[in-house]
Amino acid sequence: MEPFKYFPHTADDLQAMLHTVGAASLADLFADVPEGVRLSDGYADFPEAWTDSDLRRFFDSIDTSWDTRRLVCFAGAGCYDHYSPAVAQNIVARSEFLTSYTPYQAEISQGTLHYIFEYQSMIAELTGLDISNASMYDGATATAEAVMMAWNNAKRPRSVCVSATVDPRMRRVVDTYAHYHGIDVTTLPATAEGTTDRAALDAALAQGGVAGLVVQQPNYYGIVEDFTGLADALHAQKGLFIINANPSDLGILRTPAEWGADIAVGEGQSLGIPMTFGGPGVGFMACTDKLMRKLPGRIVGQTLDSRGQRCFVLTLQAREQHIRRQKATSNICSNQSLMALYATVYLALMGPSGLRQVGELSYAMAHTLADRLVATGHFRLSYPTQPFFNEFCVDFSGDIDALRSYCAERGYLAGVKVNSATIMFCATEQRTPQEVDELVDIINDYIKEKEAKA
């Protein structure tokens, strides 16, 4: 065996240790593995080792040699290009946080437990709800977990309603979980204005047994919906009202609690976490006190130690899989701890005024972009009567894929395609007026080139 930097064993070590365990060779340690299933000589098809320099060379040139580009991002749809503070990136890289495990040993894990408690406090404050768990995989699975929670909370559940205005990428995860868990999902169609169809909800409620309703704020199309009356309608038959919210907007928008929600879930990537091709982000879940013992996932609580000091510990573990096994509230046994730290440091830096400013700048930039696109004469707001925050849909009569490719070649990500006639654009505080100008210019160039060819 050649020396290798991740293996500290010298030839002497190997000999002495094998002697101690009474084996003649490393192969002897696998004498209990049936011959028929053993690899005789390693792997047939595995690459040769790379040096650190090989790795650096590959990744340093990934943009030029591998057609991999960071575009000026005017897209959202569940993943947002917000400012990621250097401080947050630096703190999450600290090895004491990075290389630790789930904080089972509270005495040497106060760092992790402490920031999760802060995270839970911040999520509770943003959503207006009483409590939060320690975070979940992503916004989509958090939504699916909320649906299971509502289903299991109901006495005689018949269905869980999900508005079609919820991000289809989240809905299909909900549908998948629901299918295997044995939950009937009723998808409420969207109105022509791109909002939750109240009449369809009333029809479902009239059938009875609606265990919960999931809506999104702002919804998939970017619209800030009016949820007046929904909570009361749900609660009248003991159903749970679940709002999937974008936490970045909650510095300004009405909170899930103010709408009467029992559970708030969502994707926390917008809280300063880089996009990284879609992950890792962080799912969050908050709820009312009443639902505390039904909440899935890790939860950190405050307590005292034997010396009388305030400290923090994983708590309410009687809900969890390692105690309850198949009777647990969920199978989740980790969180996205480090990403929760990202969001916590971000929110500590931003404070109420920073989060508000992020919202205002994003709002202003998105509305300016919408004005400019409509002014070209080639786009029409898909939902002109509805208020939006920093994302909006426009109808475009041309070839959306071709337009996006044209812009991408010029370094711009021109929204996401919602359907063959609709594009959804997004702007954050990261976008500058010059970038808006340039995007609009590129789009105008594209249309001119198209018209010239036609």
Partner: protein
Amino acid sequence: MNKTLYGKLVFELSKPGRVGYSLPNDANPAHTTSELPPHLRRAAAPRLPECDELTVVRHYTNLSHNNFGVNDGFYPLGSCTMKYNPVIDEEIAANKTIAGMHPLQPVETCQGALAIYYDLQRMLAELTGMAEVTLNPCAGAHGELTGLMVIRRHHEAQGQTSRTKMLIPDSAHGTNPASAAVCGLEVVEVRSLPDGTVDVGHLRQLLDDLGPQVAGMMMTNPNTLGIFEPRITDIADMVHAAGGLMYYDGANLNALLGECRPGDMGFDVCHINLHKTFATPHGGGGPGSGPVGVRLGLEACLPKPRVRACKLPESDDLFFQVDDLADDSTLGSIGAFFGNYGVMLKAFAYMLTLGADNIKHVGPLATLNANYVKQRLCDDYLLPIAGLCKHECVFDGLRDKSTGVTTLDIAKRLLDYGYHAPTIYFPLLFHEALMIEPTESESRETLDAFIDIMHRIAEEARQDPQLVKTAPHTTPIGRVDDVLAAKHPILTYWQALKA
């Protein structure tokens, strides 16, 4: 680690008027959120902390000093594979181009990112002996759920909807039955023999009784006692003959790297924890990554999106595409995008750094380390099952039970000596389980020092049991009051203010 508790909450450092950010200031915006109807806006600003930047930096730096990671010291936490998390992998994963990439970019602008994704799928398929791999799951338990959905989808597609019972050994990780329940499966427990391996006679009886209701069997191999299941191929044959599929819980895959593959043992579906076997950091509980591999014939069930390669015409180059369409075969989707891509980059860098020549030594070295610890501690600690172990070993507390010193006490005393504790009270087969997984990263000197301390604690238990029973003494906090935390839950700062 700092032995003194830092203890402050960031909310307690807040002072109105301080800011920790720099954002553009648009003095004359064309639009403001005051355009939104008032009832769509929140009534009061959120009570977030107001701090300057240095205050935030110091706060979280001080907090980190009350935390213990693999870089701080030996972390023999059984079943968790706390191996070294290479620093170069962090540098690679921080790549600025990739950090700024949106998951819905046109595929022609992300060929490199997709190529890495595709190559990682292929490397994991080779290491597990599976045909195809999905990288979508975000964690081990998420992978389990996904793998079980594959099994259910497969049975559904065959019209065998009555296959709803999942056989799970009583020694299994708690996530196995929990994942099965979330997946709508009924758990049927298979007994273990006194030596900790599956009772094949009991399994035979259960298979006979359940017949066409059997969906499959979940197994960890080596099992949670660190023992290789010697009759694994017989078990797989029996379950297959009953029409069930074999699920491999990859929590303990590290033991087998270089020696054998789940696919060759007869498993149909398996998950892999990149945060265990492939050295990505655990991050205090995540983000992880739990890819799922399947044998040929099950690949159409895998969740969307999938990344596929096709040959470009008139060249040998591959073009990578994202298949994100719902079809009749897929189980559906289990996450919004591709999974925890940033974590995958670290595993990719780790695997390439090892390469074919080194990766095959991982399992044997991890196994050597575990057997070495087992052999040297079995004088003072009760070894309930003799014989070879794989990557981890399990003791049933101290041999001398007369001292009254428990496994919990030993775990807490280890903290005083600068070690993380082993996994305790799992597996449930023994009352005082103490599960040690040293991993291949640790040197003989590190193991010797740990073994010396374990012996010293055994001696302390004989001489001064109270010293051990009241441990830890030198950590930032003493033992915590779990009962108080659960009885009077205080889960936020706002609840603490009211309490």
